[in-house]
């Protein structure tokens, strides 16, 4: 039995070490290849060069990515949190709750390129919004909706039931309970879920290829304009071959740094909020 225990422990620690090593290697490799390219100019200039991206920077792509992400988070985040509130606090029918859960799981399973195709045919062509931030963000928003909903629902369900019941027992309505207790109490988890959803949207390429992201555009000033995006820019740089591989790594470096920093901030915020819950 002891040998078995040791083997299981060895296997667990070994797997953990392997996973950490792979992640560390990936980050270090990208950062080591990319950091030389990253400069103040690279971050603040538009791409240039005979083959686009060989020279100049990625500023419009950074701003474009932020615009896509923020719009997607608003489009997907609001219904996601609302759906979680409904499922946990308002829905009395088990059947309705199960159907909503099934729909959300189905959305989570839709391949992102299919969401891109849907958004392209509905928003870009039928509604004639054209290729723009809004069209792409609709696809991205649908993509992050289940991601945020699952996290919000988990946070709501983890609240002590007697606390919610105490509010009802005072005679307060569901709306008052949700707005005054549930949402403030879960703010940490909600913000962190939304930021993680934003990271997910920022890294996605497929939903925006046909719907809003373009090879070159100025910094966007409205939602009905197309824009550059970091993942698509990265894809195009790699597709151009060896000439722009350095800038590709630089772009990957910036994208990973943005996502990593956001992730860390989200985790720290959620932890700080949850520490306020514990009795010290």
């Amino acid at each position: 039995m002891k040998t078995k225990d040791k083997l299981i422990r060895l296997w667990a620690y070994g797997s953990m070490a392997a996973v950490l090593a792979i992640i560390a290697f990936l980050f270090l490799y990208v950062f080591a290849r990319g950091y030389k390219t990253v400069s103040w100019e690279f971050l603040t200039k538009a791409p240039a060069g005979a083959v686009l991206g060989m020279e100049g920077g990625i500023f419009p792509a950074i701003m474009g990515s932020l615009a896509f992400t923020l719009t997607a988070v608003v489009i997907g985040g609001i219904p996601a949190v609302a759906a979680a509130v409904f499922v946990v606090f308002y829905c009395k029918s088990k059947v309705v709750g199960t159907v909503i859960k099934m729909i959300i799981e189905c959305i989570a399973g839709i391949p992102s390129i299919v969401l891109g195709l849907f958004s392209y045919s509905l928003f870009v062509r039928d509604l004639q919004w054209g290729r723009c931030i809004l069209s792409a963000s609709m696809a991205l928003g649908i993509m992050v909706l289940p991601f945020i909903e699952v996290r919000a629902e988990k946070a709501f369900r983890e609240l002590p039931p007697s606390m919610i019941a105490s509010s009802y027992a005072l005679g307060c309505s569901r709306f008052y309970t949700v707005s005054r207790i549930v949402l403030p109490a879960c703010r940490g988890e909600l913000v962190s879920g939304i930021i993680l959803g934003a990271c997910y949207a920022m890294g996605a390429t497929a939903p925006m290829i046909f719907t809003g992201a373009v090879a070159f555009a100025k910094v966007p000033t409205g939602l009905l304009q197309p824009a550059m995006a970091l993942p698509l820019h990265l894809y195009l740089l790699i597709a151009q071959g060896a000439t722009s591989l350095d800038t590709a790594f630089g772009t990957a470096f910036v994208m990973m740094a943005l996502i990593l920093i956001s992730n860390i901030l989200a985790t720290l915020y959620a932890r700080r909020r949850s520490s306020q819950w514990t009795r010290s």
Binding site: K92, S162, M163, S166, A169, L170, G171, C172, Q276
Partner: protein
């Protein structure tokens, strides 16, 4: 003695499993009524039926009626009913805010009181629950940082902020030590001057110490009811005798 609550032929079941069986009972005004009985006999369910929470629970089928001052509680809006019949749960469950915000939560929902009114109300209920001296300089402290006994007293204070006629307590002392239990018992004895108290308790000695009237539930049925002295001194039903002697529990 006026009867403030009348329970008439109340039955309830969860997903087809009976929890309360045809209960008819009366709760006297400005008295402490204790509901006793072995675990799972339906004590808490009866409490939730009195303040209407049971009707809203998923999977619960309820029949019969509960009258508050002669009015069927089904005809009173849930909010108004719960404002008039407060409920304190077994586990202390303060909201994750400051002590002060816990006490203004209810009044702010039911009206637009001024800051001075809110402050006065908070102080009044803190004094009524004996917490005022302990927290008067720490009103902005998180309620979660109070001790278990203080949290439970805060929950009672919070229930009092909306001035209920009846206060229901579901084993409020089960998680507390002897000293805090004593404080809460004294508090309930004080409270019955102004309002009716119904307490579910597993603790026979506690019911003996504070109750004026006792209801004994067994497997969802009301087997025996009567004044505390009468019921504890000479229980009529065999199951009541067994429960009081500790043979079932």
């Amino acid at each position: 003695m006026d009867q403030i609550i009348k329970i008439q032929q109340l039955s309830a079941s969860y997903d087809g499993k009976p929890a309360l069986k045809n209960i008819t009972a009366e709760i006297p005004e400005n008295r402490i009524t204790a509901i006793i009985g072995p675990s799972g006999c339906g004590k808490s369910t009866l409490l939730r039926a009195i303040n209407g929470l049971l009707w809203q629970e998923a999977g619960a089928a309820v029949s019969g009626s509960v009258l508050l001052c002669g009015t069927d509680t089904k005809t009173i809006s849930p909010e108004e009913l719960r404002r008039r019949i407060g409920l304190v749960f077994q586990t202390p469950s303060p909201f994750p805010f400051s002590i002060y915000k816990n006490l203004t939560y209810g009044p702010l929902y039911f009206g637009h009181p001024t800051k001075a009114q809110l402050q006065a109300r908070a102080e009044e209920v803190l004094k009524a629950t004996g917490l005022y001296e302990e927290v008067k300089n720490d009103m902005k402290k998180s309620a979660l940082k109070l001790s278990g006994g203080q949290q439970q007293r805060l929950c009672i204070a919070r229930a009092l902020t909306v001035d209920p006629q009846v206060l229901l307590l579901d084993e409020p002392c089960s998680a507390l030590d002897v000293k805090n239990t004593q404080i809460i018992e004294e508090l309930l004895l004080q409270m019955k001057k102004d309002r009716t108290v119904v307490i579910v308790t597993h603790n026979i000695a506690q019911a003996q110490r504070i109750a004026d009237k006792v209801l004994f539930l067994y497997e969802g049925s009301l087997l025996e009811e009567g004044s505390a002295e009468e019921l504890f001194a000479c229980p009529r039903h065999e199951k009541t005798k067994e429960f009081l002697s500790g043979r079932i529990g």
